[in-house]
C-alpha cells in the first residue's frame, strides 16, 4: 500500500537515520549496554561515558551546562516535574502560578492538579493571534507568585511568545520561569543563559530523536530547587530516579548534535515549503489562516476551511497524514481549546486542520497536498448545506440553530 504523505511532524518525527545508526550500538552484548550507575566495572564506565557525551551535546544546543540536563521520559514528564516539583518545594511561601490558556495539556493538567492542592493559578487568555499580553501578565503578578510557565511555540498554531521580555519581567519580580520548548527546539535558537530561563522542557521525538526520552533543563546558578516526583536510586541529582535509558539518551544527544549543525538548513527548508503550501491554497474561498505568519515558526500551518468539517476533511484527504487541532485531543469531539482561547468561532474551530512540515518533506509532496486539498474542499462543499446557504447569500449567523 502506498503510504500517505506525512504532514504531522508537530505530533512526532521519525528518527533520523544518523541517530538510528548511533543508537544501534547500545543494545547488544557486543555493544555498550551497561548501567551507567554501575561504578565498579568497565561496562558501567562505558555507559557513563556515552551518557556524558550525549549530555554535553544536548547542553550545547541550548547553551547550558551538562550538569543542568535532567533526563525524563519526555516533555510531559518534564513539565510535570518542573511545575509540581517547584510548587512542592516552595509551597509554604509562594502559592500562585501564572500560565496561559494555550499551554500543552501536561502543563494545564499539572496546574489543575495543583489547584486541587490549594495553589492559585492564573490562566492568561491570549489575543487573536495567540500572543500573551505582557501588560496583562504584569498585572496578574501577586506578591506570592512563584512561577510563570509559558509555552515557547504553541503546538497547534505555531505562535512564538516573547520569552526574552517575559524573562525580564520574571527577573525583576524574582519569579521563576519555566518554558515548554517542545515545539521550539530546532525551529528557533534557544540560549538559556541569554534568555535567563530557570526551567525548560523538551523531548526527543519532535527533533528526529527517539520517543520516550525528554529533558528538563534545571538552572544551577542560582540553583533551582525542586521536589522530585519519582523516587528511587537518586539518579539525575536525585531529581528523577530510574536507570538511564542509554540508547535513547545517545539518540537524543545525536539528534541535538545534528540540530546544532543543521538547524538553519532545516528552517530554510520549512519556510520554503510552508510558503509553497500556503500560496497554493490561499485563494480558496472562505479559508482562514489561524497561524499568524509574522510571528510563528515556519513548520506549522493551521487553517480553517469554512463550511467543511475538520474530521470529514481529514477523511477526504486520506493520502495525507494530518491532524485537526492537536493530536492529543483528536479523539474528543470538542473543538480545539487553543483556537477557542484565541477567540476563533466554534464553527471555524471545527473546520481547522494543522499541517506540519518536517525535515523529510519534499516539494513534490507539497504539490500533491495542494491538489488534494482543492479536490477535497470542492467535494465536501458540494455536500455542505452551509456552503449552499452561503452561496445563496443566506446569513448563517442569523439562523436560530437548535443546538
Amino acid at each position: 500500500m502506498k503510504q500517505p504523505i506525512y504532514l504531522d511532524y508537530a505530533a512526532t518525527t521519525p528518527v533520523d537515520l544518523k541517530v538510528y545508526k548511533k543508537m544501534k550500538k547500545f543494545f547488544l552484548f557486543t555493544g555498550i549496554f551497561g548501567n551507567s550507575a554501575s561504578r565498579s566495572h568497565q561496562f558501567g564506565w562505558d555507559a557513563e561515558k556515552a551518557i556524558c557525551k550525549a549530555r554535553k551535546n544536548i547542553a550545547q544546543l541550548i547553551n547550558a551546562d551538562p550538569r543542568e540536563i535532567i533526563f525524563t521520559s519526555g516533555a510531559t514528564e518534564s513539565n510535570n516535574l518542573a511545575i509540581k516539583g517547584l510548587y512542592e518545594f516552595h509551597k509554604k511561601k509562594n502559592t500562585h502560578i501564572i500560565t496561559s490558556q494555550i499551554e500543552h495539556k501536561s502543563v494545564l493538567d499539572s496546574c489543575r492538579y495543583l489547584e486541587s492542592k490549594g495553589c492559585q493559578i492564573t490562566y492568561l487568555k491570549p489575543n487573536k493571534y495567540g500572543m500573551i499580553n505582557l501588560n496583562e501578565l504584569n498585572n496578574t503578578i501577586l506578591p506570592h507568585t512563584l512561577l510563570i510557565s509559558i509555552i515557547h511555540v504553541n503546538n497547534e498554531v505555531g505562535i512564538i511568545q516573547n520569552i526574552s521580555k517575559i524573562s525580564k519581567i520574571c527577573k525583576n519580580k524574582k519569579i521563576f520561569l519555566h518554558i515548554d520548548a517542545t515545539q521550539s527546539i530546532g525551529k528557533l535558537k534557544i540560549d538559556v543563559q541569554k534568555l535567563n530561563i530557570d526551567l525548560l522542557s523538551f523531548s526527543g521525538h519532535k527533533i528526529y530523536g527517539p520517543k520516550g526520552i525528554g529533558v528538563l533543563y534545571v538552572r544551577r546558578r542560582p540553583r533551582i530547587r525542586l521536589t522530585s516526583q519519582i523516587h528511587g536510586g537518586g539518579h539525575e541529582r536525585g531529581l528523577r530516579s530510574g536507570t538511564l535509558p542509554i540508547h535513547q539518551i545517545v539518540g537524543l544527544g545525536e539528534a541535538c548534535k545534528i540540530l546544532k549543525k543543521e538547524m538553519y538548513n532545516d528552517i530554510l527548508h520549512y519556510s520554503k515549503l510552508q510558503n509553497l503550501l500556503w500560496n497554493g491554497i490561499k485563494n480558496i474561498e472562505e479559508i482562514y489562516l489561524n497561524t499568524y505568519l509574522k510571528n510563528s515558526v515556519s513548520n506549522i500551518l493551521n487553517i480553517s476551511f469554512n463550511f467543511v468539517e475538520g474530521e470529514s476533511l481529514i477523511m477526504a484527504l486520506k493520502n495525507l497524514a494530518i491532524s485537526s487541532g492537536s493530536a492529543c485531543t483528536s479523539s474528543s469531539l470538542e473543538p480545539s481549546y487553543v483556537l477557542r482561547a484565541m477567540g476563533i468561532k466554534d464553527e471555524l474551530a471545527h473546520s481547522s486542520i494543522r499541517f506540519s512540515i518536517g525535515r523529510f518533506t519534499t516539494i513534490h509532496e507539497i504539490e500533491i497536498t495542494i491538489k488534494s486539498i482543492h479536490l477535497a474542499i470542492q467535494k465536501l462543499r458540494e455536500l455542505s448545506p452551509l456552503w449552499e446557504m452561503y452561496q445563496k447569500g443566506i446569513n448563517i449567523e442569523k439562523i436560530i440553530w437548535n443546538k
Binding site: F307, V308, E309, G310, E311, S312, M315, S331, L333, P335, K345, D346, E347, H350, E382, L383, S384, P385, L386, W387, E388, I396, I399, W401, N402, K403
Partner: protein
C-alpha cells in the same frame, strides 16, 4: 477513529446528495444541528399523493459518521409512507453503520432530520392535525 466499511462506503459514495426546491408543496425540508456543534443536516423529502416518500435528498456538514448517517437515512426512507419513515429510530442507524459510541449523536441528528422533514411537509399541506401523530 476507525470506521466500519459501511460508514466509509457511504462517506466515499454518498447517496442522494442534492436539493429540491423547498417552495414546492410536495417537498418537506428540515435543517437540524448547528455549525457551532460541528454538524448540520439538511434533509428533503418528495411526497406523493398517497403519502409515500417518492424521493429524498440531503446535504450534510459534519464528520464521516454524520455524512454516512444522512446518506443511509435517505436510502431508508425512499418508498416508505410518512408513518413508516417516522418510525425509524437512531438505534437502527447505529446498528447498521456500526457507529462508535462517541458518534451516536450523528444518528440522533438523522432521526431528528426525518421527523423534521415530515412535520414540515405536513404543516405546509395544512395537515397540522396529523403532525402529532408522526412525532
Amino acid at each position: 477513529m476507525t470506521y466500519s466499511k459501511k460508514v466509509l462506503d457511504h462517506y466515499e459514495n454518498p447517496r442522494n446528495v442534492g436539493s429540491f426546491s423547498s417552495k414546492k408543496k410536495n417537498i418537506g425540508t428540515s435543517l437540524v444541528g448547528a455549525p457551532a456543534c460541528g454538524d448540520v443536516m439538511k434533509l428533503q423529502i418528495k411526497v406523493n399523493k398517497k403519502g409515500i416518500i417518492e424521493d429524498a435528498c440531503f446535504k450534510t456538514y459534519g464528520c464521516g459518521s454524520a455524512i454516512a448517517s444522512s446518506s443511509l437515512m435517505t436510502e431508508w426512507i425512499k418508498g416508505k409512507t410518512l408513518k413508516e419513515a417516522s418510525k425509524i429510530q437512531n438505534t437502527a442507524i447505529v446498528k447498521e453503520l456500526n457507529l462508535p459510541p462517541v458518534k451516536i449523536h450523528c444518528s440522533i441528528l438523522a432521526e431528528d432530520a426525518i421527523k423534521g422533514a415530515i412535520s414540515n411537509y405536513l404543516s405546509k399541506n395544512m395537515l397540522n392535525k396529523n403532525i402529532k401523530k408522526y412525532k
